[in-house]
Subunit: 358 residues, 2 copies
């Protein structure tokens, strides 16, 4: 339920005018839509509170005659990425990138081969890798994400993201975005919202694929960011080199801080799925007027994963959704999205046959 | 002259179609235009190399049939503010803000009254104030720009900018933007460019008025930025407090570094006026395809100010344009804008009568 506002049903005309405003792209939502579905901006969502809340929020904020109207220039929506827009289990995609890049780094710097944590990672011993300390993981991140120019990094990350595959589905990670959330991104943009990703992941990493995968340009990615240093290459041309110096740790309290740094406005809508998103949702929710705060609960082991530990789900180090966060959501009036109950389809590649729950 | 491209004259049809794409706003450029001027997107510019270079660059980059075409999503233009978009003499506007805010700060913290540099500033002794060290000025900046919530800062800065006046013109600082550059901003935006301010000034300060003054929203301001800290107020609501911690010193090499952090793409066009803009222009110029790099030379003591020390103009600590920068511009093929010769009108309040040089 949006704050200070009940979503009391939406007129068919309002929905149709929204769809008419959608950019004409060959996206799954339009490709697969028959006449009946054309009026539904969120076809992968089952009817229920979550879907009604999103549509009610949008309708309230674009209605010029209402006191809940949000001026177009203020329409900012922020989305966590890992676990909110795409799969984060069994491990964050960027951590997979860093681990898989270790052999290349060791080839360039052979002295690392016998040093920890590189030796453990090269051993391929999954149990030992899982036990690496935070400090050791940071060493891997710095070694694999810094020390090269921005262009070199972009080229390497792009090559990896185009070829790497998720072990469970044997598909590119970029195929594992959630179709219902892709629909929300497009629906908000069609209604004048700027959609930002606000991620604990690396800003430069996400920028490599965000435009192609989400339709979100590099300048609308807020993420954990390291510094760069301006200099000149051997050819005399200017270069920006990625440095092992953390400028913004874009997680927990760092999310609203990063939003202020990079956007400078409070969002009207925020989506997350874990304790790292709590402060972003609190910051969003504390503003005046209509606000939307939603959390994805991974409660679908069959189609994706099930973890919390909220609501008795399995505990998880990756994308932790605590019972305290669940209770805070309920108390404040945020909406918890049940992946199992609210989404009739999770991935675009599923087709539209699995609408059993609708 | 744009790189790898001579601006060999522009067809009348091309210019007309550009004007047709301009948003219909009651801006000076449209309000004052008769039929003849309607075809000119830059009426405050005298005919000459500078004006031709801007129009040639835009035409080349929007021509789909040309190999100089720039895809719409890549159209980024960056502008220094002080001395490029508005007056910076005798002192940067934000420094005036900080100095004028000292009495209020001392009222809140009386223990500062007898301490330096606050004592000197309160004395009003201009010569002594001009001699303050960089370290002392930094202390003033931290005392006046940090330690409050983002909302408090915004309210205070907004109240000041609405009431403070420039000593020479006795007009609000926001009236002292350069009309020719306002036309460039609108002309670029009408042709699909996103226009960013990239300033050594404070990011939060410029954001307070940028949308109203330049039509540039807060998220398109890249500036010197301090950190904020997320917390909770007495009412339990989330707050962001501005901290005396420098995250980005957005000047010199910090400009391309800030552009990467905040935008993540290399600009196609950059405008500056001092040595602090050199690296931004070098970074812009080093990219492929059509590029625009321009520097405003303040050589008009009568209508504005004259300072360099390039070209034998007076030396200046504020907005220094060295001969070395001038020589680099000529060598690389950047365009130097002569305020005296290239602009037939400097401020909107001048009206359109002063076109003697055209």
């Amino acid at each position: 339920m949006t704050r200070k506002l009940r979503s009391s049903g939406i007129s068919r005309r309002a929905v149709l005018s929204t769809v008419a405003a959608l950019p004409i792209l060959s996206t799954p939502v339009l490709r697969t839509s028959g006449l009946a579905q054309t009026s539904d901006p969120l076809p992968s969502w089952n009817n229920g509170v979550a879907k009604e809340t999103i549509i009610g929020f949008v309708q309230a904020s674009v209605d010029r005659s209402s006191r809940t109207f949000v001026p177009p220039e203020a329409r900012i929506a922020t989305f966590d990425q890992d676990g909110t827009l795409w799969v984060e289990h069994p491990m964050y995609t960027q951590v997979m990138y860093c681990l898989e890049r270790v052999p290349m780094v060791v080839k360039e710097k052979p002295q690392l081969r016998e040093r920890q944590p590189f030796k453990t990672i090269l051993s391929g011993d999954r149990e030992a890798i899982a036990k690496l300390s935070l400090h050791e993981l940071e060493e891997v991140l710095f070694a694999t994400l810094t020390g090269m120019t921005v262009e070199q990094f972009n080229a390497e990350a792009k090559a990896w993201i185009q070829s790497a595959k998720h072990p469970r589905w044997d598909k590119p990670y970029t195929d594992l975005t959630y179709q219902p959330m892709q629909e929300v991104l497009r629906y908000l943009r069609a209604n004048g919202y700027e959609t930002y990703i606000v991620t604990g992941g690396g800003q430069d990493f996400v920028r490599v694929y965000s435009e192609q995968v989400y339709g979100i340009p590099p300048e609308q990615i807020v993420g954990t960011a390291g510094g760069t240093t301006f200099g000149y290459g051997k050819d005399g041309n200017p270069t920006l080199t990625k440095e092992p110096k953390l400028l913004l740790n874009d997680d927990n309290a760092g999310k609203p801080e990063g939003i202020h740094l990079m956007i400078g406005r409070r969002p009207y809508a925020s989506f997350g799925n874990s304790t790292g998103d709590r402060q972003m949702l609190e910051y969003t929710w504390a503003g005046d007027g209509p606000r939307l705060a939603m959390l994805v609960l991974h409660d679908d082991a069959k189609r994706e994963y099930a973890y919390g530990p909220a609501q008795g789900l399995a505990d998880s180090k990756v994308g932790t959704f605590t019972q305290a966060l669940y209770d805070e959501a309920k108390e404040r009036g945020w909406t918890v999205i049940s992946m199992k109950d609210d989404w009739n389809r999770i991935f675009a590649f599923e087709g539209t046959g699995s609408r059993a729950l609708q």
